[in-house]
Symmetry: C2
Subunit: 721 residues, 2 copies
């Protein structure tokens, strides 16, 4: 369990929950992701450093996927005390604390090892600089309670935790500038991007110059033996710079050309780091009173969203698994536009522009993808990597029974991705009234609309337009017809296309006629006698089975339930689908319809995706079920602190950060509990607070003004500042 | 191996190949199927008697399928010699022969048991009467080589071999008219159809009246002890009548109301049986000179096709697995129209009318099926049972790894079934020029066309009509778009509809306009640069893998390769698909195209369906590869004698007769090796004989005339008689 002490997120003790803990305690930005690990941990504990948005592939096996690149760990440091190596594989820490300081944006560890009769205390602090975003700074300190012989090994762990083969070539360059500066340059395997990692060490009470340099067991370290005196704090600082440029010039400049490190480096770096981070975090953090868990969880969510601001990097967007590693290939999904975008819209509008720029830059790839399937227009990547290339495989799951790849349809049938991008663009335009948004993305919007026009099917019997053979957000039901979410988002895309054409005064008669026809005749099922809308054609004919019963039929805990799996022919759905459509277009539906569908679909939803709960929370707030709303909110907000999400889809590891869930939690709080309404000149709220929460307070930027909003069970206050 | 001795098909020895042998040696007709078993065998050896076209379902388990009904075995007879029971479970026969006498249409067994120092010889002969088709006659004889005590138990084995639960109620009526006549009346489980089995016994040298009657272990028998003298042939005759009527009056009258049995009964029955059978068989049998295996195999094929003539029974058609039992549910597939119909067309035109009447009678069900999927018109059953009801399940295969039902798409996506029916109708019309054929089936044709019109999809970008989301004959590739076979057969159906409307002077403008549009614009892919036509959209993008390599990846010998199985995403196909289209519409293609597609698809074809080889054989004959044609012909013709076909699809038993393969073998010989051409007033042939075959001779009925056709490697003769 994670405690909150003085606004710190703390895990006490040492458990083998490497994947969950490493994710919960990670720090970084869209250049570097540093997982929450002890300096003495290695790839065994998934101690890894991820370079988001730098992708490569190990071509030695065609089944390997393209993923983001993991790089060597320059934080590696390990002690040997009287010949006892202090690492969890050898000795379990006697006492341990992992600490995430969200306000100061740093990771702290405090560990006591007891070995023979010596007690060693290690603490460290690290951060990825908000000021120089490709620099990592760390201060490592230790003390012993008795005089003893201590060996310190500090340097670089070259052994990488990697999910899909090796992303770096076997040959690399090493430059040893001095005892305290080592520079490694690696080359990515298929694209030959050079990635340089420079580590500089400094200590005010350890004589690094007397250390020997050792390369052993893939650890390149300085090795220093000292006679440690009791109760003296020995300190070792590291300043790490990582830089690369890929072939398109997309990457990271050497922002900090100086490799000087001295006694002031660390404290100065902290000061500069805080100067940037404090105002951001203080503005964006949401304070929840009366419910510690809600407050700490949402704080963690916002910390992650803010860490990943695309505004720091050109044409960048946020991967679904953030910067936590290589799961989901480090790729960007609809998650960004649908679940994270609303956070950035209220907090950091520049990030919204970057997210859209990233997609505009990817238009060519999307047009190629559409053409590869025989369609016109643009079909955006399901798992988008550099330049908008689709990293998604046709086989994104491995069968647990046969260990064979399973043909999935995420890549080729999840056509709703286009609609999410256009939805985000239109919401940015609506929020800013900035016509340049539409102008810059007009070609994107048009190509997305054209794709839908070329995809839509008509027939000779009536005027109805069908959208056939798709995968909706509920990925358990493959290749369905007229998925409600997909059809609504297509209709909306056509609406935006026609509206943008009008606003910008651009005419393209042939396409407009077709788009108008489809807009008018696209099949939208009406609610049945019980006000329930079928998720797709034939949904009501599927097998009725309770979620509990379905799960009890599992023969393997990791078996994939979708497609030909257990859920495929039942009414059990993976995640909010109809409910997502109802939330996005809730002004089209009566409260009765929202309520009926919530009641119908909620028990049928596995919430097997972390995108699910927030949508249920938002609808629950709208229909007066604020305590239900709370349950779904807290699930979304605490997703990575609790770490109870699926770690495997079939045999594929899918753990890591859940940034969209964080975005969803933020939306649930702001648009749910306080029903933030931005349809007028100034923000409005209404009260839908769950009983557990006494009050909520947050800031937003709206119409170039800053507002503080406070809501409790009886009052609300909106204050411009 | 099956030998041919004096035109008899013989298997020597006794093996545990119950399923294969029982099928190869079965006799019967569309009322009764009697498998090839020893009288002392039981359900352990799949000794069973099938009532084709009488369907029922065990409702105690919703997962049980509707299948044809198996009935008690009234041929059961077993000897005990000096306390040794002579049955294969106890004593392996010392010597044994199973014999199928195709010309005389009877089954013979000759067995020697050696036990202690006594040798017992048993022989029997049985047939289902061609004269009284619900009567079975059998003569059972035995002799011993030393005086000994013999107990004879003869009567009814009530223990049934059944695939899907129990089809008969637990309660039944028994009437014992005398020591030599027992009458059992059973009731089918869900529809309560009463089925009566009457067994009369006669012996000229065993005193049946002194026998006791015993009901033990589900065997209702007379039990008779005799002191058997050496080298005396003891004889026991049985006359069995089976009759029933189902709720629709569809069934079997008591044709033979007399239950008298005497010394003359058996021989008289044989005489009457031959009187009907001999001329039929002598007319239809094809004589192949120079290749014993080809001759015997094709004889076996024709024997089966002729035994199953639908002309004996109103509104009947031929199940895919004939009368061999409950596999494939005893249902009627497209096999009949596409693979058997051509045989009946040349040999027994009345059967063709019955086959079509059966479908006309099923029109209402087909209209209901179409409506259930939201379409107009008629969508015929994939596995058609009484009244055209679809017995096909959405889960027609059981996964070998999880034992779970697998969602298959035979029922809902194999829309080409309509086209096969219309193709047969039009070929009957073409053959007879009988407009009444079109008149009687006009509504059927129209509804089939209407279904296709309502199924076809158009779009706003061009005039093309797509047929989406279907399963072609190659069932391994599910839910494909624009399957070449399906699109061609749809185009043909629309052609027949438009043509029949014109011939009959019936006008329905709205539908005709639509049908004409689809006829003109339905997507028909053109051959690629190598003259190869893709089997469906995207086929050429599938994985290239050799059949051998694919099969080597199997983890379980019975695993299903289709859908999500190993073949689903590869170019490996189950059976002729493009090749079937090319055969049916071969006048549309150049020899180069036929050849290119044969060469391309043949190595990719598993021939996992016995409908496959004959199509390859026919095309091979057309492109001058007569020895290839032979290989595929012999595979089709000898299918049930060799018994090497798949016995399981996943965990579902699918063994039994392969009547369509027999029909295909016949077509391969007639339309392939002798290239029979019926486009003129009188038949024409040309020579495409494989090298192994010296000559072929056969008869056909054409334009109300009978012709004998003889073809060798240099000459051909066509003689009217």
């Amino acid at each position: 369990m994670y405690l909150k002490e003085n606004n710190l997120i703390v895990e006490k003790g040492y458990k083998n929950n490497f994947n969950v803990r490493g994710t919960a305690f990670l720090v970084g930005n869209l250049f570097i992701g540093v997982r929450g690990f002890l300096e003495e941990e290695t790839k065994i504990q998934n101690a890894s450093i991820n370079l988001p948005l730098l992708y490569d592939k190990d071509d030695s096996n065609p089944n390997f996927w393209t993923t983001s690149v993991n790089i060597c760990n320059p934080l590696y440091t390990v002690l040997r005390v009287n010949d006892n190596i202090l690492s969890p594989e050898k000795i379990k820490p006697f006492d341990n604390k992992f600490i995430l300081d969200t306000r100061n944006n740093c990771f702290i560890r405090e560990t006591t090892y007891k070995c023979a009769d010596i007690s060693t205390f290690i603490n460290s602090q690290r951060f990825v600089s908000a000021d120089i975003p490709n620099n990592i700074y760390s201060r490592y300190e230790f003390s012993v309670d008795k005089t003893c012989l201590v060996n310190i090994k500090a340097g670089i762990d070259l052994d990488l935790y990697e999910l899909e083969g090796h992303h770096l070539k076997d040959n690399y360059d090493v430059k040893i500038e001095s005892r305290n500066t080592i520079i490694y340059t690696f080359y990515t395997k298929s694209k030959n991007v050079s990635v340089t990692v420079r580590v500089s060490l400094f200590s005010n009470n350890l004589d690094i110059n007397t250390a020997s340099m050792v390369l052993d067991n893939n650890k390149h370290v300085i090795s220093l033996n000292i006679n440690a005196l009791p109760n003296i704090k020995y300190t070792l600082d590291k300043k790490i710079t990582i830089y690369y440029k890929d072939m398109d010039g997309f990457g990271l400049d050497v922002l900090d050309k100086e490799d000087i490190i001295d006694n002031n480096t660390f404290s100065l770096a902290i000061t500069n780091h805080h100067k940037i981070w404090h105002p951001k975090f203080d503005f964006s953090n949401v304070t929840i009173d009366g419910d510690k868990k809600a407050d700490i969880s949402l704080r963690h969510a916002i910390f992650n969203l803010l860490s990943l601001e695309p505004s720091v990097r050109n044409n960048s967007s946020v991967p679904a698994r953030g910067i936590s590693g290589q799961t989901y290939k480090g790729a960007i999904f609809w998650d960004t536009e649908m679940f994270m975008f609303p956070f950035y819209l209220l907090n950091d509008i520049k990030s919204c522009y970057q997210i859209i720029n990233y997609r505009i830059k990817g238009l060519d790839e999307a047009i190629k993808k559409a053409a590869s399937y025989g369609y016109q227009g643009a079909f955006y990547a399901w798992e988008s990597i550099e330049n908008g290339i689709d990293a998604c495989s046709d086989y994104n799951v491995v069968d647990v029974f046969t260990s064979r790849p399973v043909r999935t349809y995420f890549k080729d049938k999840q056509i709703h991705i286009n609609g999410a991008i256009v939805y985000a663009i239109y919401s940015l335009y609506n929020f800013t009234k900035d016509e340049q948004v539409l102008r810059d993305s007009y070609e994107l919007i048009k190509q997305c609309a054209l794709f839908y026009v070329s995809y839509a099917k008509t027939n000779l019997m009536n005027k109805t337009v069908d959208i056939l053979d798709v995968l909706g957000p509920d990925e358990y039901h493959e290749r369905v017809n007229n998925n409600i979410y997909t059809n609504y988002i297509i209709k909306h895309t056509l609406f935006v296309y026609l509206r943008a054409s009008k606003i910008l005064g651009i005419t393209s008669v042939a396409l407009e006629v077709k788009a108008t026809y489809i807009y008018n005749y696209i099949y939208i099922p009406t609610p049945n006698a019980h006000n329930v809308i079928p998720q797709f054609d034939g949904y009501f004919n599927l097998k009725d089975i309770s979620l509990k019963e379905l799960l009890s039929q599992k023969l393997d805990k990791n078996e994939y339930l979708g497609g030909h799996g257990l859920a495929g022919d039942t009414k059990i759905i993976k995640q909010a689908d109809t409910i997502t459509a109802l939330y996005l277009f809730n002004n089209l539906f009566s409260k009765e319809v929202l309520e009926a569908n919530f009641n119908y679909y909620e028990p049928k939803t596995e919430h097997g995706s972390t995108l699910s709960s927030s949508m249920y929370s938002l609808i629950a707030s709208k229909i007066g079920k604020s305590d239900y709303a709370y349950e779904h909110f807290i699930k979304s907000a605490s997703v990575d602190l609790e770490g109870k999400t699926k770690q495997y889809a079939g045999k594929v590891y899918i753990g890591g950060s859940h940034i969209a869930s964080f975005g969803g939690a933020y939306m649930s709080a702001i648009y749910g509990f306080t029903s933030l309404d931005l349809s007028s000149e100034t923000p409005k709220v209404s009260i839908a607070l769950p009983s557990k929460i006494k009050s909520i307070s947050y800031n937003i930027k709206y119409n170039n003004k800053k507002y503080n909003i406070y809501v409790n069970h009886t009052n609300s206050k909106i204050k411009e500042f």
